[in-house]
Symmetry: C2
Subunit: 250 residues, 2 copies
């Protein structure tokens, strides 16, 4: 291993959040390492050092692409993590130095985030035995500072959703009931929401359009279906100011 603790390494870590209809799951990789004389098994985010000739977005796509098809995936850079102590745990340092065959001092990592609906068409690559979906509520202690990275990614998604509610509709079927929509918010914000209040809020979203269609063959009272109207949404949220198309107003 070349000795080099002078300069930080740069990595990319990806928080891929998948909504399965009832809860959010995070894409994690199984890791096996050695601490002292003991073998341990735990989980980590998909991540790794960037290649010397690779830009950051490409690294993120390469890394997630090892596990799922990223063609339709929007990987958004959301935050960099650079605390000098983030690689301080001996088990992490030992595991990483073995994995990359480099002496590791400090690593600055660029956090990426993707949000998707876990549908029947989404599959792990057939040879992949490392990746699993773990419900957010069941995530234990992860490698490095990956708990913090997941936490900040979830907070980022909450902020995005509050500011740009259209995000939610990518996680729902084209026709959805009020309770399906409520469940997305409940899962994301980690707490139950009052049903009646939620209905009231929904009725104030002109871009959530009620349909004359109802659930069929259900034991409870058949719920109404709604759809998301992009045009109305754009009028409410996007149409206020023009995009800034040119640099420095030139």
């Amino acid at each position: 291993m070349p000795e080099n603790t002078l300069y930080p390494h740069v990595s990319v870590d990806c928080v891929v959040l998948g909504f399965d209809g009832s809860q959010f799951n995070v894409l994690l990789l199984k890791r096996t390492g050695i601490e002292g004389s003991q073998t341990f098994n735990d989980l980590k985010l998909p991540g790794g050092l960037i290649f010397s000739d690779e830009n950051l977005d490409d690294a993120a796509h390469r890394i997630v692409g090892e596990h799922i098809n990223t063609n339709a995936l929007f990987l958004k850079q959301f935050k960099s993590f650079g605390s000098p102590s983030r690689t301080s745990h001996p088990r992490d340092v030992h595991w990483l130095e073995k994995a990359v065959q480099l002496k590791i001092g400090r690593i600055v990592t660029i956090g990426y985030l993707a949000l998707l609906r876990i549908s029947s068409t989404l599959r792990f690559h057939s040879k992949d035995v490392q990746a699993i979906w773990v419900p957010l509520q069941q995530v234990g202690t992860l490698a490095f500072d990956h708990n913090q990275i997941v936490e900040e990614a979830v907070r980022e998604v909450c902020e995005i959703v509050v500011r740009d509610p259209s995000t939610v509709f990518n996680l729902l079927p084209k026709r959805f009931t009020a309770s399906q929509m409520r469940v997305v918010y409940e899962a994301l914000f980690g707490q139950p929401l009052d049903v009646r209040n939620f209905h009231k809020k929904m009725s104030r979203m002109p871009y959530v359009v009620p349909l004359d269609e109802f659930e069929k063959q259900v034991a409870h009272r058949a719920a109404r279906y709604y759809r998301f109207d992009k045009k109305i949404y754009f009028k409410v949220y996007g149409g206020f100011y023009p995009g800034r198309s040119s640099l420095y107003g030139q």
Copy 2:
């Protein structure tokens, strides 16, 4: 100079945007370097390599703090820039290697952003001869990829303002006229806005409260003053969903 082109270096670059009542200015530093046998003078963003024991936010505050008082300044990390070609210009490489006394291969830089109102109380440190405010419209070719970083910072501010219009009121006096408010948007989006339309949009912002006070001693018709009401704003924008306080809903 120690030879080391194997690993990327990590730096921080800061886009401090100051609104002066009529336009946005960016904080830039004068740079003198040598290209071939010629001396050149140009401008760069405040930035630099992170110290080995320093986290990213601290580095940003240290770097901007060399020029202005950062106590009241919110420096927000907005994006990392890691294209392998961003340090490809020979004049940049030469200048940097001389400045930091290191052989430089690739640099991944973490972009920070701050937005402030240039007021009479804001001054450069008295010994600082390097820093200047340059109106966005007059920014020429900057060092490295700093034009791109400025451009993306401005785009980020536009997005923040569209999603969270309260940002605008930090750039205005406590009492402001409609035209003062319009000028902020015009300066930011780099294009004139229709006066009547803007008034209409303003009247649909319940948190922009008209006062019974008018301009005094003006040649034109005295304009009404408005104020920003945080409580009403919070009801409209912030009060919909609870903050996600705990990790993974625990």
